[in-house]
Symmetry: C2
Subunit: 161 residues, 2 copies
């Protein structure tokens, strides 16, 4: 696993590649996870971050809502989720750490360059807000809760008024 | 302001009237705020909880998104938001405290018994997930960020497919 490039003064956490020096270990791990796994789409990196079982406690609209995934199952979710938006990227605007839990507020951006739900690539861009609580155990991520402003996604993709 | 009725063992935080004993002061204040202000609709209680200015940093779809409210402005937002759903109620399923910030995951339930956006009362019920980060300063709430699964609200009210 690549180390964080540097630590720096707190800057509102817009970068996931340089972490503030006073961040908790779990917060730093989460920034790495977001960068390597979600922003880069590095399927192999999943093994470094995830516990053997990953529980999606609640995530309305996510096809895996409520499911418990193996690492292989998570890799499949990652690849399937990123396929319609190959340039998918999360930028964080707040991170809140409390013991084994880390909450993040983010904006997800991407361009629909792949098929999505039977619809061909639209070339449309999305920029949507969401928040996630990640659960850790001994430095490994064991699951999450998440809320995404799906109405904005539907509007930006031309699926809702 | 009414004191919390009791403190109790952590029970997943489903009740906003009894708080776990090991909770931070800001978390306890937030549970009181949610119960007295949002669940009860006690407009007068706003003065006990809010700083003089309340900033809505981000809250997609909220008519006050991006605005800075006085306490009177917040009371107006509270009354306007609850009018369509007089039985509005937030139940928390996680609370994460980190210094001056407290993140909560919740389910909001209510029945549309009042007019909403020009539409007459529908009698329809909503149950929707969301997350909020509340910002504190010296025990007073200075603002929030929030994401609500608005697509579910639209579907439950019969406004989306």
């Amino acid at each position: 696993m690549a180390p964080l490039k540097a630590c720096s003064a707190w800057n509102g956490c817009h970068s996931t590649t340089t972490a503030p020096c006073d961040m908790t270990d779990n917060s730093r791990r989460l920034l790495q996870f977001m960068e390597e796994v979600w922003n880069t789409g590095d399927v192999a990196a999943v093994d470094d971050f995830l516990a053997e079982q990953y529980i999606i406690h609640s995530d309305p609209g996510d096809p895996w809502d409520g499911k418990t995934l193996s690492r292989e199952g998570f890799k499949s979710r990652l690849a399937t989720s990123r396929a319609p938006f190959p340039d998918l990227r999360f930028d964080l605007d707040d991170i809140i750490a409390d013991g084994d839990r880390v909450a993040v507020s983010w904006i997800m951006r991407g361009t629909q360059l792949g098929p999505l739900g039977g619809r061909p690539p639209s070339g449309r861009s999305i920029a949507v807000r969401g928040m996630t609580i990640y659960y850790f155990e001994q430095g490994r991520i064991t699951g999450h809760r998440q809320v995404v402003d799906r109405l904005t996604v539907a509007q930006q993709l031309g699926l809702a008024g």
